[in-house]
């Protein structure tokens, strides 16, 4: 555990991101004419520098920073790189968008950068205080981003709904945290974990955790805290929607992994506090509600909003499976989700840029008018469904494998519900494809895509396909990110060996004692 001055070195990635926020704003202020390209370039440089700093200061073990308020470990580094990549892609996505005009670009990028800094802290929080503060940083920036188009009524409505739901969820979570603090007498996750393991008040622990789940569930848009999601995703500017549907959601899962893995003892699983049942119920409800509601949608952003709710459900299944298998599935899923979901939103942006709206009906015959965009959309949607040969298949495969590996009737039931849900999701994803390929367009002229959009689409579509073919590097990277968290489980053979060595030494001691 390092003190404040000595933590700064390991805190370099966050410092770079925070510095970039100031630099982007300040350069915009000093410049005679604000310019979108300059702000974007500065943002990209900052993000790449932060990524490089993360990789360069990476260590295989974990240690606490700032007297244990946050941790620097491979798991946090994994998420940091994920968030930096997300933000970098969002910069590319939003370059031609209406939101990034010359006047407002600097503010827009500064807001996304601040969100990224908050998400990076969320992924490394090891204390209730930092968990709450980082979550609020992300939330408040998200509200502003959702309402970024100030003149638009929908955007303002989205922001207002987001604020109100978010405020309630934060308040409820804070109350849960105060209960945990009351039990532990400390805000650190380790102390909370210890207190929860030894307290006789199991009901209080359960209540506190359920209340905390309100805050986390709100961030990942799980049932019953998903209501804001469709309205906000539809009303917010599309690049913001893309960012919100990937970044803060992944950050919410990072915090959930830390909270359940780092602060809730495994001994409590099962007997007094049924985390798997609780999480399993939420996961099943989230998947089912998301997929069934998506069936009825006619607006693409709304459809993707419900689909993203459903995907939060799949990832929650992995959290429910727990252990190294479950956590590995979460990380793998989030990486594949990053590419396919950002990709799907980018197709909407690219097509909207060429003059076609967000209603599915308007997408009729897109396969003929903009063949490349339609092919890319097909790749992303099939990947979201989880069909091979696309990255989304592996994402889902690992989730279900983790459930089955854990075993038990609950896990098997959840896996069956998950697979049924995937089948349902195929229907509404296929509806978009049907409109694109099997319905006649109203106008037949070809739709030219902007060169930037075409290039970014390729940048996202290629990994979605390639990850299926070249999967093992990603898996190795994820495994190395988990190594420090699950040292015993990652090396089952050596653990067994240790046990047998111990047993034989005990026998040896016994025999020598009888002699």
């Amino acid at each position: 555990m390092l003190d404040n001055a000595h933590s700064l070195r390991a805190f370099l990635p966050e410092l770079i991101v925070a510095g970039t926020v100031l630099a982007v704003l300040f350069v915009d202020l000093l410049a005679r004419r604000p310019h979108v390209g300059r702000a974007a370039a500065l943002t990209a440089v900052g993000l790449v520098a932060a990524g490089a700093a993360t990789v360069m200061t990476m260590r295989a073990d974990g240690y606490g920073l700032f007297f244990g308020l946050i941790a620097r470990d491979p798991l946090a580094d994994f998420f940091k790189l994920l968030f930096l990549a997300t933000n970098l892609l969002v910069v590319l996505i939003s370059l031609r968008a209406r939101e990034a005009t010359d006047e407002s670009a600097a503010e827009f990028f500064a807001l996304t950068l601040t969100t990224t800094a908050g998400m990076m802290l969320m992924a490394s929080a090891t204390d209730l205080l930092t968990a709450f503060l980082s979550l609020e940083t992300v939330s408040i920036m998200s509200y502003v981003l959702a309402g970024f188009r100030r003149r638009s009524r929908e955007s303002a409505e989205a922001a207002l709904k987001y604020v109100i739901y978010g405020g309630v969820a934060s308040g409820v979570m804070l109350y849960g945290m105060s209960l945990l603090y009351g039990l532990a007498g400390s805000t650190s996750f380790t102390a909370v974990r210890l207190a929860c393991a030894h307290t006789p008040a199991a009901a209080t622990v359960l209540l506190a955790v359920v209340l905390c789940l309100a805050g986390f569930g709100y961030k990942i848009a799980s049932v019953p805290f998903h209501m804001w999601c469709p309205d906000v995703y539809q009303g917010a500017p599309t690049p913001v929607t893309a960012f919100l549907s990937v970044g803060p959601k992944a950050a919410g899962f990072a915090l959930l992994v830390r909270f359940f893995g780092g602060s809730l003892p495994a001994e409590l699983v099962g007997a007094p506090a049924p985390w798997p049942i609780l999480l399993g119920l939420i996961a099943a409800a989230t998947m089912t509600v998301g997929n069934l509601a998506a069936l009825a949608q006619t607006n693409l952003k709304r459809l993707l909003a419900y689909s993203s709710i459903a995907h939060a459900g799949y990832v929650l299944l992995a959290l429910c499976a727990g252990g190294s298998d479950g956590t590995r599935a979460i990380l793998l899923y989030l990486v594949t989700y990053l590419f396919m979901n950002l990709g799907a939103f980018l197709v909407i942006i690219a097509v909207a840029d060429a003059g076609i709206g967000e209603e599915i009906a308007e997408w009729r015959g897109l396969g003929r008018r903009a063949p490349w965009a339609a092919v890319a959309m097909a790749i992303f949607l099939f990947s979201l469904t989880g069909l091979p040969p696309l990255a989304g298949f592996f994402g889902k495969f690992y989730v279900f494998a983790a459930l089955l590996a854990r075993g038990g009737s609950l896990m098997v039931t959840l896996a069956v519900i998950g697979i049924l849900n995937s089948a349902v999701s195929l229907y509404f994803y296929a509806r978009v494809l049907k409109a694109m390929y099997f319905e006649a367009p109203t106008v037949d002229e070809p739709l030219p895509l902007a060169r930037l959009h075409a290039a970014t689409l390729a940048l996202l579509a290629v990994p979605t396909v390639a990850l299926f073919l070249v999967w093992s590097p990603l898996q190795r990277f994820v495994d190395s990110s988990l190594g420090q968290w699950y040292p015993a489980e990652m090396r089952p053979r050596s653990a067994q060996l240790d046990r047998s060595v111990k047993r034989s030494s005990v026998q040896l001691a016994n025999t020598s004692a009888t002699k």
Binding site: A5, L22, L25, F26, L29
Partner: protein, 133 residues
């Protein structure tokens, strides 16, 4: 455990009860001679000329948010000022005397913090958010 908190409960009940009893006494036993003069608003201005539930200009909120910048600044400056000697000292403190080396750590920290605030202030200024225009 629960027993040790019982005096607090008693105190709370007493406080609430005391207030309620005297309110009730005043309500039932107090003399009431209501005249037009007595019911008129007094001591805080003039007769109301409309509903108080009107929409306020958003500028008020803008000023309130700007005020927060300086509010937070002060909230952080006070504890920093109190701890300044300790922050600047590498060794143990004997009263106000530092036994180790004196560094600029505390000063640097505050300069960084203020620099961030100044960027915020410059931003607000440049965006013409100061003023009532």
């Amino acid at each position: 455990m629960a027993v040790s908190y019982s005096p607090i409960l008693v105190a709370i009940l007493f406080a609430v009860g005391f207030g309620l009893v005297f309110l009730a006494l005043a309500m039932f036993m107090g003399p009431k001679h209501e005249t037009a003069e007595k019911l008129a608003p007094f001591e805080c201005g003039s007769e109301p000329i409309g509903s108080p539930r009107v929409r306020f200009s958003v500028k008020f909120y803008q000023v309130a948010i700007l005020f927060l910048v300086f509010d937070i600044e002060t909230a952080f400056l006070y504890p920093w000022a109190v701890l300044y000697r300790k922050l600047s000292c590498t060794g143990a403190m004997y009263g106000l005397v530092c036994s180790g080396n004196v560094t600029f750590f505390g000063l640097t920290e505050m300069v960084v913090f203020l620099a961030i605030l100044v960027v915020g202030l410059a931003y607000v200024w440049r965006k013409k958010a100061i003023g009532w225009g």
